[in-house]
Symmetry: C2
């Protein structure tokens, strides 16, 4: 038995602003990313490899706010965050505020596998990437008219904005992040998350995506989690590990823990967003308290499903 789920961000994705073509493009991109992981899992591969493959696909797609499609910072750069964790030995790697890395999830994986550290930041992380043979991309690798226009739209406003669609009024919140969770046939869980953060972000701001326990967590004894939402709230609520603890210490099911955190605790706390969750019993939960969340999932026993609203 194996299972797999991915997300491409959550937020107020008003249905009427999606053209049929745009909606189809998102569904196709989600399906392609899911299949990158599915092809590993169905051949007996590792969940950590499936998670990395899914996220790399999403990072390479300009539709999502991660990797190539990352939003612009206030200084017209791209600062990327990512983290990955495996559930057997609780090993983890994370990177915050790096520029020029096409696939930050691959760098997080390299930190996990090839260093004694968990979290590397900024230029130091880029130096590590160079030592590991990563290529540093030019800024134009990350350029798109879509993202640049989004920056121009908000750059004169005082507060940073959380991602996505340029058609939406700036007071509508979008949480552009990508993530994946997987359970492989060996019963091992893994989770990963990657993001470009907030359009117009300043001051080296990092959200929950690079934080083990907040944006990403995996533990074979409980669950694997990847979050997307208003990162500051997700950090303060330690969202990913909270779900694990509700399962381990309070005896909740995955479904109960997800509902408690996303649709009760986070709603009361003011934390908009969602997450994807999986356990070793084949359960998949994809809760969100926003209008929509780009997501896709499948198991060896099911078809592939993709959804936005």
């Amino acid at each position: 038995m194996y299972s797999l789920a991915i997300h491409g961000g959550a937020g107020t994705l008003a249905r009427h602003q999606f053209t049929p073509e745009k909606e189809a493009a998102y569904h196709a991109a989600l399906k392609e990313a899911l299949e990158a992981g599915d092809s590993i899992l169905k051949n007996g591969g590792q969940s950590i490899d499936a998670v990395e493959a899914c996220i790399r696909s999403l990072e390479d797609c300009i539709l999502f706010n991660a990797g190539r499609g990352a939003v612009f910072t206030h200084d017209k750069t791209h600062e990327l965050d990512a983290s990955i964790m495996e559930g057997k030995f609780l090993k983890a790697g994370a990177v915050a505020g790096v520029t020029g890395i096409a696939n930050p999830i691959k760098l997080a994986r390299s930190i996990m596998d090839n260093s004694e550290h968990v979290l590397l930041c900024g230029r130091g992380a880029e130096a590590f990437a160079l030592e590991q043979g990563f290529r540093i991309e030019n800024p134009d690798y990350f350029y798109s008219d879509l993202r640049y226009n989004q920056l121009m739209q908000v750059i004169n406003e005082s507060s940073a904005h959380l991602d996505h669609s340029v058609q939406l009024p700036p007071d509508e919140k979008k949480f552009g992040t990508v993530g994946a969770v997987a359970c492989d046939v060996h019963g091992n869980l893994a989770a990963g998350t990657s993001t470009g953060g907030m359009t117009n972000k300043r001051w080296g701001r990092a959200g929950d995506s690079p934080i083990i326990g907040a944006g990403t967590y995996a533990n074979n004894a409980t669950c694997a989690i990847s979050c997307t939402g208003h990162g500051e709230f997700f950090i303060r609520a330690v969202v990913a590990y909270d779900i694990s603890c509700l399962i381990e210490y309070a005896g909740m099911t995955l479904e109960q823990a997800c509902q408690k955190v996303v649709n009760d605790k986070l709603v009361k706390f003011g934390g908009e967003g969602g997450l994807i969750a999986i356990d070793t019993q084949g359960n998949i939960c994809l809760p969100f308290n926003s209008e929509g969340m780009y997501r896709a999932w499948k198991s060896n026993e099911s078809d592939t499903f993709t959804a936005i609203f």
Copy 2:
């Protein structure tokens, strides 16, 4: 009722290597830092102000690996991490990898109070500090022969080393960090942590000190926690929030949760270090699984205690 505890790092602090003068200097510095917070709490002040005052005192003291006494990185700079959290509204601020800031805990507090963010990193965080009127110190503010000699001792070795005393063999581990937890007369908890990280650290490495949920956590419903130890293990184990969850979800007392995490889970996991913990019932726990931990504590009903072993 109020109570207060601080730490100045944990590790293998072999007793025979302490001269009476050196031991007296640590006790005096701990007492001075504790009194900085106590003078606030005994006059009805806020726990968050007491935590900041204690940590600023420890950051200003060259004996501890934080602020002025921070260890050198591989590149002969100082990269400082800190975080602070209050338990009533679960507000938090954190900073990772900043240079030139005399009191990183003050900057973390400013991020909590004056921005909509929680975590700011590197040069971006320094830009925020400048906007907030912080002074950027020259590198020589952080220079000491002690720390420079420590760097020289390990710079030719392959792995980064965790702090402290230059007299010790490099294979003995020291976890230089400072922290404080407090409960004020209003029943509000707060916690904070600050560090210079590992001697000879590279690649923008951050440990658990700037991570809410790992190195620092505060929640009036459960406890306030500040950790010191091998940061990578503390991140992967989400130590500070784990103690909170064991109290909230598993019904443990503060003492039971601290023992479970520090002397059972972390020992099995290979995570050396300790933490300071406090709750609103006046309980204070200071567990560590290393040979020693610089610490001090008091309540309105007790004298001031300081201890190393």
